[in-house]
Symmetry: C2
Subunit: 362 residues, 2 copies
């Protein structure tokens, strides 16, 4: 047994590197994607973007706008940049600097409240923390210029409202003249749940943000979509926030070359997540949230202490060659983690997966 | 002669591609730098940065902080992000949301006034537009929390105050308890003029911004430097502005691997700019600003119409194989351009350069 905390850490890094990963897209060398991008640039004779202009960028923006049937699109370095910009624009349109979103929104939890510190927006946090936003959450809500809806809601295990609930919610918001913004950080992953084209989901919204480095697996990057005049305004804000880079070619090309092939895999990722979740649901002391994953992600809630559970994870890795989870957060006497299924799980035979997960209980 | 504007444009793109460039670092394929970065990552076993953390990032920040003898540093995607953040922090420290900078500052001309729209700062524009900021410009200035000084001042041909003028200006500002921020977009290029270590220049300032894609020639990126507490605050603002990317490895590595070797070339670039400027000063109808370049850049002001001058540029390219300038802006009956000398000019024999520039007058 390793004698110090640092030895244990080193052992775990080595162990992880030598096992099959349950979550994510698998082991990769950080130079791999850059080499693929460089080869793609040579093959397609791509000239660099320059301060937010250039053929490769404009073509990619048009491609995503067409896919989602939105009028216009703007590539941005991050969603953290894109989303507060959208809410700021909707606030200025009606002079109401108040917005609303779920209490677990990325804007509330992970962005140092840029929406407030930079854009002077006040946010009303909606609803029950354990379920997605519903139409009932609009009752008694102060006048707001916009409502942000995250599909799927990441912090609650990737839950989605049903199609009817979503239509009801967006209709009720429209009746109140509230602009609808879609936090589509994992929108690509939500298509299979609704069994509808992504454009049909986007049609319910005035503005849409999508991400390229999660399910799509690109180096970084995001896109904001909406009407032409909305995107023109967003482009000004992007410049103001320092998001119009001299060149961002590697990130743009990485997203562009991966989008189509990765979209084709999303339904498989979801099916794989459902299979894996079903194995976990049989492990005593483990709760899967949601019980049946709606997208390619779910949460695991364990009875027990984090360090004991980590040792169980290490043991399974040594005995079965499968790395079941990266981390656990202590959460009111339980331990919790998020599992997102990508390319990696598909490379592990079902029987091996099932045996490894079952062995976690020993 | 090409029959249409589009034919002419195509001809010029081909002509430029087949000639030696006077300005910049020369012709390069956009995949070249990505391939160099990928090779460097493999050679040095670099693991990716992740949301603004990671060994490669922290080591690079420490390296630049040590070089400039500042306490702490933070890599950011752009200067357009870094500089308003610095001014915002200084404003909050004393509760004065007013700042001052030269009328040609990048913040005033090229950033859609993010300093005002995002950070609610009011700017007092200083001085004579044709010379750098001087101590006299502080006379009668309203109370401000910060003063931004750009060294060298790009929009006026890369002019610098003398060392004594700079010391006098910064001392006078300190007496008024004004925080000093250095816009060092081209600080690397200014060292040779002062004949002092860059750290000695930075010691006059409370905060410093430097850029990696101009003289250094990296893909993109910038760094903000200051005290530890200042940088901790700046890191929060970077997150709020959407500048903490999932990964920004290519840009970081490109800057890191180029910094030291490119710094060693700056004095040569400056000497080359002075030689080239001396040839231009002999051409009738051309004014060089400043008459003797202080860094590796200068402006050229031509009598005449832009299109006539462009045709002269094309003719020289065809006859001498040297591409003298990329663009010209009409400026009160004159035409003006900026010339920045990098690696490219060093590959052209002096006699060829001199002959090409002399031929421009014909």
């Amino acid at each position: 047994m390793p004698s110090t905390k640092s030895d244990l850490q080193t052992k775990r890094v080595q162990l992880r590197a030598s096992t099959a990963l349950l979550a994510g897209h698998g082991h990769a060398h950080p130079a791999d994607e850059l080499e693929r991008v460089a080869a793609y640039i040579r093959e397609h004779d791509i000239t660099p973007d320059n301060y937010g202009t250039g053929k490769v960028l404009e073509e990619f923006e048009r491609e995503v706008a067409e896919l989602l049937d939105m009028e216009a699109a703007r590539y941005m370095p991050s969603g953290c940049m894109a989303q507060p910009i959208a809410l700021r624009i909707w606030a200025e349109r009606v002079g109401v600097f108040e917005t609303a979103f779920h209490g677990t929104s990325h804007l509330e939890l992970h962005e140092e409240k840029g929406y407030s510190a930079l854009h002077r927006l006040k946010a009303h946090l909606l609803g029950d923390m354990g379920r997605p936003t519903q139409v009932a959450d609009l009752e008694g809500l102060a006048p707001v210029s916009s409502l942000l809806i995250e599909l799927p809601a990441r912090e609650i295990g990737g839950q989605l409202p049903t199609w009817d609930e979503l239509v009801e919610l967006t209709r009720a918001a429209r009746k109140r003249r509230i602009r609808l913004h879609l936090d589509g950080a994992r929108l690509w992953e939500a298509g299979a749940f609704y069994g509808r084209p992504l454009a049909e989901i986007c049609a319910l919204f005035d503005s849409v943000y999508v991400s390229f480095y999660k399910g799509i697996g690109a180096l970084s990057g995001a896109m904001l979509l909406g009407s032409r005049d909305f995107i023109d305004e967003a482009t000004l804000w992007q410049r103001r926030q320092g998001g119009t880079l001299y060149s961002n070619l590697a990130h743009i090309v990485s997203a562009k070359m991966r989008l189509e092939p990765m979209l084709a895999r999303m339904a498989n990722y979801r099916a794989s997540a459902q299979e894996i979740a079903s194995y976990w649901s049989l492990v005593p002391g483990v709760t899967v949230v949601p019980a049946v994953p709606q997208v390619n992600m779910f949460h695991l809630i364990f009875d027990g202490e984090v360090e004991d559970l980590m040792l169980a994870r290490d043991r399974v890795a040594e005995e079965h060659g499968v790395w079941l989870l990266n981390y656990l957060n202590q959460d009111e006497g339980k331990a919790r983690c998020e599992i997102t299924i990508g390319d990696s799980a598909a490379g592990i035979p079902s029987a091996k997966l099932e045996a490894a997960i079952a062995a976690f209980a020993d």
